[in-house]
């Protein structure tokens, strides 16, 4: 799915990530941990091609990211669902339209038959016509997850998806992501919430990666 070979990323003169090698296989489940500022979000941005590695190579669905033009990047992003910590909605559109935005962008606006079912699955069916600003933090996160899934992507990358929600909501979101993984999706969750990771390890075969000292390390024994 996504392969990183000796990837480094420099930002503002200094190297933030260094010598990272990893293959995200189909149907795998990863937690990405590390202290704030370690580069978890940067790692995810490299995976969904918002950033280009300053060294090494990133390959997405078998294509080297450097060889992709802007349209190529857009087409590949349709196969990757991204959940941002701050959700990133179009604030002037109702939440249902935000969720179906990837379909519209892909010229498949007519394929929104599953929208209602998806909104029910994330518990937002009765909030379809609300604006994003009218939803709570947890509802926004669930809406962001629904938007990430509307295109039935192969990979879901979630950046601190439980960062702004209470523990109960965190558990609900995690359950949704585990359910997706059981459907064969590749899941990567960047989080510093160790309780969430511990809870997940009882339900899914998750690998835990840790970014420390600019490098990617396999963690988990102590979790």
């Amino acid at each position: 799915m996504i392969e990183l070979q000796n990837v480094a990323y420099s930002y503002g003169g200094g190297e933030l990530l260094s010598d990272m090698t990893l293959t995200l296989a189909a149907g795998s489940f990863y937690f990405l941990t590390g202290p704030s500022g370690a580069g978890k979000s940067t790692f995810l941005k490299l995976c969904y091609m918002e950033l280009i590695a300053s060294a090494g190579s990133v390959s997405v669905f078998g294509q080297d990211v450097r060889d992709l033009d802007r349209d190529g990047v857009a087409l590949n992003r349709r196969r990757i669902g991204v959940v941002h910590q701050d959700c990133q909605f179009l604030e002037h559109l109702p939440i249902a339209e935000n969720i179906s935005l990837p379909l519209s962008a892909a010229g498949r606006a007519g394929d929104a038959q599953n929208l209602d079912e998806l909104m029910a699955w994330v518990g937002l069916r009765d909030k379809a016509h609300r604006l994003p600003a009218e939803l709570s933090g947890g509802e926004r996160q669930r809406a962001a997850l629904a938007r990430a899934l509307i295109m039935s992507p192969d990979v879901v990358l979630a950046d601190e998806p439980t960062g702004n929600v209470d523990w109960e909501m965190s558990q609900r979101l995690l359950t949704l992501l585990i359910e997706l993984n059981r459907m064969g999706k590749t899941i990567v969750i960047a989080t510093h919430d160790l309780n969430l990771i511990r809870m997940a390890k009882n339900q899914v075969n998750a690998r835990v990666l840790r970014i420390a000292d600019r490098r990617l390390q396999l963690a988990g024994a102590g979790l």
């Binding site: 349209d71 857009a74 992003r77 179009l90 002037h92 559109l93 339209e97 962008a105 010229g107």
Partner: protein, 293 residues
């Protein structure tokens, strides 16, 4: 064609911008209003040039300046020459009333023409083939030494040239108005793109290609320009229709406007404005989007 296909959600991905949108529409209306008048000016000067060219090319004047006792004889001699010249359709001696009418705009209607030493004028109308001007001059100088043939070329050419240039100036003005509209739309589109950077970022993240994003802006600006231009054209056409009727007494100014099928031409301006907006926004949007990481 996909550029024009409507996707109701795609049309709304750019948030409404209120005041800026109204300014774009107003500017398009103002430009269209000016374009209609420039078009009217071009048509009017074109008609004027054609009329002067056609009318003056077919008429000449023979002026007889001779001592009072010889005027009648030389007039008759000149008439004889003219009536026997191939290419002359008619030669008519202007009477006192006609000469008074000619001078009335400068000296008033009560001019005592009998007391003035005015030359006798003969109005000469050519037929389709025209006559040999140099040959006629030679024959007149031999038969009527006081006769001078004026074929109006001396002052006709600059007039026609001036009218033609005025027409070109009108068309050039329309071109300038079009370019100004394009520049204005480009600036407005750039401002809209900058103001909607976050919208663009979200769209890119969900897999939107540049053309999809650009289309949302293009449709919006083309609609604003088209609607604004239509309003401007309607107002300008009402203004042109209310101008005084063309009449010989009024001269050029009263002829400013459209005649017959010319009224159709302003109706193309809104389409043209929408087209200009389409290309200007497309250029601005794609250039901006390609500049983003």
């Amino acid at each position: 064609m996909s550029w024009f296909q409507s996707d109701s959600q795609a049309d709304r991905i750019v948030p409404p911008s209120g005041f800026t949108a109204n300014l774009t529409t107003f500017a398009a209306a103002a430009m269209a209003f000016l374009a209609v008048f420039a078009l009217a000016l071009s048509f009017a000067t074109g008609r004027l040039a054609d009329r002067w060219s056609a009318e003056l090319a077919r008429s000449s004047t023979v002026r007889i300046s001779a001592p009072e006792g010889q005027i009648a004889a030389q007039t008759q001699a000149a008439l004889n020459v003219l009536n026997t010249t191939p290419g002359v359709a008619s030669a008519t001696v202007l009477g006192p009333e006609e000469q008074r009418a000619l001078l009335a705009p400068w000296f008033g209607p009560d001019l005592p023409i009998d007391t003035l030493p005015l030359p006798q004028l003969i109005d000469v109308i050519e037929d389709g083939d025209g006559f040999d001007v140099d040959g006629l001059r030679l024959r007149l100088s031999a038969e009527a030494p006081g006769a001078v043939l004026d074929d109006h070329t001396r002052w006709r050419r600059p007039l026609i040239k001036a009218a033609s240039r005025l027409r070109m100036l009108g068309f050039f003005s329309i071109l300038l108005i079009g370019l100004t509209t394009a520049a204005m739309i480009t600036l407005a589109a750039n401002a809209a793109l900058a103001a909607n950077a976050q919208v663009i970022r979200v769209l890119r993240l969900v897999g939107a290609q540049d053309l999809y994003i650009a289309r949302a802006f293009i449709r919006r600006f083309a609609q604003r320009a088209g609607v604004g231009a239509l309003a401007g054209v309607v107002l300008a056409m009402i203004g042109v229709a209310l101008l005084p009727e063309a009449s010989t007494a009024g001269g050029f100014l009263t002829g400013l406007g459209f005649q017959g099928f010319e009224w159709i031409w302003p109706l193309f301006i809104p389409i043209l404005a929408a087209g200009v907006a389409y290309w200007a926004t497309r250029y601005a949007a794609l250039r901006t989007l390609r500049g983003l990481t």
